[in-house]
Amino acid sequence: MTLTAPETSTRAAPAVPGRSRSTLARRLVPYGYLSPTVLLIVVLMVVPIVMVIGYSFRDNVIVQENSVFAGFANYTKVLTDESFLAALKNTGVFISVSTLAHLVLGLTFAMMLNSPLLGGVTKAIFRIVYILPWLFTIAVIAVIWRLLLDPAGVVNHVLQTLGLIQEGVNWFSDPGMALWAVTFVNIWAGYPFFMISLLAALQGIPNDLYEAAAVDGTNWFQRFFHVTLPQLRPVIISMAVLDLIWTSHQFALIWMTTGGGPLNATEMLSTFTYKQAFSEYEFATASAAAVIVLLLTMVLAFFYVRSQRER
């Protein structure tokens, strides 16, 4: 109620020039507060994106003084490049398998931690154990798994001791195995985020729903599919879309484990773009590849925003 009084006085003010200035200043205050953020967004996001889009339509950008307009030539070059198409396919496999596995593992572990069958201390111990991969930086994760999956590493030694394999497997350097090896490492590194988010969502499901379902004589599976999953659906959709976006940008892990090799078996859109820019100095084609990645990401972002609106 008290808030209406100043507005009334504001409406009466325009007749007085001094007050008009005061009103204008007051209206500008919110923009003043926003300006540092807006400035940073413009400088750090809008300008670089516009520049990259501009570069993608020119030839010999950055490395030569006078670049020329090239139309869609860079896009044609990228989209007909076998390495790019291989990278697109690898990225598709990598992100879809990673996201699915993150979801399944995250949900499984979250339900374990939410189970009334486990005591408080046991839950705390498992919570720490399960969240550990999330505490390591990508560099550490890459080093750890390079050592573990080395042909003379612990994993091969254990598998050989158990009689599961006869010879050491070249996990990262076998072209038929490398993509699955890096996907496995990415799954290991990323499931805790799903687990924590889904655990929070599970704890938010009212117990009344389970009690009502129990009264109706449902079993565990029926409660899972008809109570738990529908309640988690908005969180699962949001997390899955976000994970698809984040995983599609994964660069460091690939670069530090396989570098996109062997024989382009783990080449992703991110490593392809990096090589174009910083190895071949083809900044124009790198920009075109980056714009294509941006467009693909925007499709995912569209679904994310839509799911958020629905919520």
Partner: protein, 426 residues
């Protein structure tokens, strides 16, 4: 309340403005001070690889001699320095003085990011005859190698003895024989290690082409690719024969240089081609490892001078710096007989000044052995000064990977590499 709110707004405004000014100011580089002092920014990876504080002492001696010049060191690991310089070159904001790898020079020179040192040498009446080498593009010097690091053959003497190999191999046949015997000596031990990772594809330069150079061969003819020549074919066929014999440590296709050193240090491989700079690292991690360094094996019957691969800490000057004269003064100081000898000694490398003598007094005797090998042969690295050299190495590594996995013949791989390289080296 109104007064306090206004004051708060003003305070926030002032803080925001100050932050912005600071942010913008922080983007600028070292400039002239009001007293005429010039600050040179020097971006390099050397400081990160030298014993703590040693490089600072060398810089302090320079600033003591030249009180009107200050040097601000921008030290970062090699890979970070490369990226920093690439972006700096693109945006014309390179630091005044830059540490360079020979593989970057052509691209930076073509971009106009680094300056022609030949002109600065003439202007300063600098005696270039003291320099062991200069890296040139179109006849102009753009980089001076300050310290050179050679890549000899490292041999685990215990593994060699255990395998019943009487002496260090000096020919390709002897090397293959020794590698086979070591690989057959039991455990997971292999004779040789070949890192062919394509993220940092320098294995092509250090571990593959080194075989070619050691036999006096060349991958270029009149500055153009010559990969289908008999010496190159013989080299790749030899590497393939090592692979076919099963003497190369597994995991080659994604192995990095550090993995190579680690496997040698742990006694998992008997021989490797590696930088002399890693001697201290190996001895620190495994003090009791019994190893020696030797010249790279050459083709059977080869009697000529052997090329020995090397990498350099090179130096160049930004084209956009306002202080070229001061920057060259600093370069001259680093290349002076006394300073260059001192820097080479602490870096465990060989000096870029021909008259400088590294002090082997406190060094490992292996450095003296390597210096003798270096002086008997000649430094060879044909990737230095080539355009997009990392890309050339990567495309070659990919073709070699096809050969080693049986997906391509040596002839096809070399023909494809020749085609790839010819489109880059015009």
């Amino acid at each position: 309340m109104l007064f306090r709110a206004t004051r708060l707004k003003r305070l926030i405004g002032a803080v925001t403005a100050a932050t912005m000014v600071t942010f913008v100011a922080a983007c600028g580089s070292g400039e002239d001070a009001s007293d005429g002092t010039v600050t040179l920014e020097f971006a390099q990876w050397w400081g990160a690889e030298l014993p703590a504080g040693e490089f600072d002492k060398i810089i302090n001696d320079f600033t003591t001699e030249n009180p009107n010049i200050k040097v601000k060191l921008l030290s970062a690991p090699y890979a970070s320095t490369k990226q920093q310089l690439l972006t700096g070159a693109a945006s014309k904001t390179l630091p005044d003085v830059v540490g360079l790898d020979g593989a970057w020079v052509n691209d930076f020179a073509k971009q106009g990011a680094i300056t022609d040192l030949s002109k600065l040498m003439t202007d300063a009446n600098y005696d270039a005859s003291e320099l062991a080498s200069q890296v040139q593009v179109d006849g102009k010097t753009y980089m001076i190698p300050v310290v050179n690091f050679v890549y000899p053959l490292f041999v685990n003497k215990d593994l060699l003895t255990k395998a019943g190999v009487p002496s260090t191999p000096t020919t390709r046949t002897e090397f293959l024989d020794a590698a086979k015997k070591i690989s057959a000596s039991g455990g997971d031990v292999k004779g040789w290690v070949l890192p062919l990772d394509t993220a940092v594809p320098n294995g092509v330069q250090n571990d593959v082409m080194s075989w070619l150079w050691a036999s006096g061969g060349s991958m270029l003819a009149d500055g153009k690719p010559n990969l289908t020549s008999a010496p190159v074919k013989s080299t790749i066929e030899y590497v393939k024969s090592l692979n076919d014999a099963g003497v190369i440590a597994p995991g080659s296709l994604t192995m990095k240089e550090q993995d190579k050193v680690e496997k040698f240090t742990n006694g998992q491989v008997g021989m490797m081609i590696d930088s002399l700079a890693h001697i201290n690292l190996i001895k620190k991690n495994k003090p009791d490892l019994n190893f020696e360094v030797a010249a790279l094996p050459a083709e059977d019957g080869f009697t000529g001078q052997r090329g020995i691969p090397y990498a350099s800490w090179g130096i160049g000057i930004s084209n956009s710096t306002k202080h070229k004269a001061e920057a060259f003064k600093f370069v001259s100081y680093l290349m002076s007989q006394q300073t260059n000898a001192k820097l080479s000694t602490i870096a465990n490398g060989f000096p870029g000044n021909k008259t400088a003598e590294p002090d082997f007094g406190n060094s490992d005797p292996l450095f003296k052995t390597a210096f003798d090998i270096y002086q008997q042969g000649y430094p060879a690295n044909e990737f230095v000064g080539l355009p997009k050299s990392e890309d050339l190495m990567r495309s070659f590594a990919e073709q070699l990977q096809l050969v080693l996995t049986g997906k391509s013949s040596v002839d096809d791989a070399l023909a494809k590499s020749q085609e790839n390289w010819s489109s880059v080296i015009e």
